[in-house]
């Protein structure tokens, strides 16, 4: 069976972004871009399922600007067999991405689509659930374990207060949480191999999808800064401050 893995190109995890002075967004010119960390976990999981023999093909998809090709090459260096770029310069919001992925899912007919639970740029946490709704498929978000059975997937999910395990009818959508796996380091030989893998480019127009944004960003500002307080000498001084100044403990 095939697995589809959507991957997003985002500002690297270690970059501290700055708000633009005209408050129209954050400045992402000349900053390092990488694959969204949760998507890396998704590619790793799909690759492991293939290595176990449960999956025959892993297809990575990215939606966005031409440079998303690099993200797809990274996915292929981890283990994806081929890539599809849905190329556009339009700002893509989760609903639009879900609509693009729906068309690709109908074309490719995967039994499983694994996505990151959240992208670390817009922090939306929506695309997987939306895609499940549009396809009318089952879903398991925030997965920490995936087991494939006959026509089903058993997924353990990270929920408030603990874990729960549910069984999904395939085809299904799974979104990854932090502890699902630890992605491998990509090696130079695999990076070289990935360059030779098939990468197709399509457009929202060719897929017949309207990707116009539904949410308008009116302004982006810096969060209110919290100023540093004081350093105390010892535990006794700390307890004194907590009791007599902050009055948060009695």
């Amino acid at each position: 069976m095939k697995v589809l893995v959507p991957v997003k190109r985002v500002v690297d995890y270690n970059v501290k972004v700055r708000v633009k002075s005209d408050h129209t967004g954050v400045d992402i010119a000349n900053v390092k871009m990488s694959m969204n960390p949760f998507d890396e976990i998704a590619v790793e999981e799909a690759t492991r399922l293939k290595e176990k023999g449960a999956v025959t093909e892993v297809i990575a998809v990215s939606c966005g600007v031409a440079q998303c090709q690099e993200t797809l090459r990274t996915a292929m260096a981890i283990g994806a067999d081929r890539g599809i770029l849905v190329q556009t310069d339009v700002e893509l919001q989760p609903l639009a991405v879900a609509k693009l992925l729906k068309v690709l899912a109908e074309q490719e007919q995967p039994q499983l689509i694994i996505l990151g639970k959240q992208a670390i740029d817009d922090d939306s946490n929506q695309t997987g659930q939306m895609l499940a709704a549009l396809l009318g498929w089952s879903q398991a978000t925030f997965a920490s374990k995936i087991e494939l059975g006959e026509g089903v997937a058993r997924v353990t999910r990270e929920v408030d207060g603990g874990l729960e395990t549910i069984e999904l009818k395939l085809p299904a959508i799974v979104t990854t949480d932090l502890r699902l796996n630890e992605p491998r380091y990509v090696t130079l030989p695999n990076i070289m191999k990935a360059k030779k893998k098939q990468l197709d480019t399509v457009t929202p127009e060719s897929l017949g999808v309207d990707v116009a944004p539904r949410l308008k960003t009116l302004q982006v500002v810096e969060p209110a800064a919290r100023s540093a307080g004081i350093k105390v000498q010892d535990v006794a001084a700390l307890v004194d401050k907590l009791k007599n100044e902050a009055k948060v403990v009695v």
Binding site: Q93, Q129, A140, G162, I166, R226, K231, V232
Partner: protein, 308 residues
Amino acid sequence: MSILVIAEHDNVHLKGATHNVVAAAAKIGGDVHVLVAGANARAVAEHAAKITGVSKVLLAESPALADSLAENVAQQVLALASGYSHILFAATASGKNVSPRVAASLDVAQISEIQAVDSPDTFQRAIYAGNAIATVQSTDAIKVITVRTTGFDAAPEGGNAAIESIAAVESVGLSTFLSREVAKNDRPELAGARMVVSGGRGMGSAENFKILDPLADKLGAAMGASRAAVDAGYAPNDWQVGQTGKIVAPQLYVAIGISGAIQHLAGMKDSKVIVAINKDGEAPIFGVADYGLVADLFQAVPELVTAL
């Protein structure tokens, strides 16, 4: 305008987060209804009816809704959606699971984790791990929203809304609940706790994390952890405070052995009082802490327990 708030519950207890979501609904303004979708959940509906500002509680009871499976709960919400201008969920694991599914089925955007209401169609939300706050305006007819509970003070109790039983949907039949492992402890739930004691990578091991227990016991605090500590396997994932974990704003947040990565600060910087204990005096956590103590945590924590 009428607003539908989806109650967060376990069929027995209404979760505190629902009070914050009702408060957000009140800011938007309009008639506020609460949907309790569950099984044998009348007690939850009775509790929800007491929240000030709620005019009606809709109770849908069915075995299909017992375990909050996303497909079934979404179907229940969709059965009601056309009557509302806004549908609000708490930005919790269960709210985030269902809300986008509802939005996409309605062909509308979902607005994630709002922390302020500017107007009925304009909201503020954090992006880039809280490094920027975006003001977004929705052009959709129905606004489907998840609410960051720390952005809104819990609506008080004192109301007496009517409870109306409504037809429950059949199971969509796509998924089945198998089992749940809930960590058993007497501590308050992290998301709504008044006190939080959090450990980071500086704890060194899962075993060492236990030295925080007496401190949490003494303070009546919930336990939290940084992503680094969760990554290292020192603490369970549902303790994770930060951009990709839980957002908390307790009266007192005690950060122990936490350096203060951006993504952690995003999850706790709205706490009223922040205490940091770290042996590295240059750690970024001291940049947000009201009271910082540069010390070896293995000495300072037991001392603190004795002194409190």
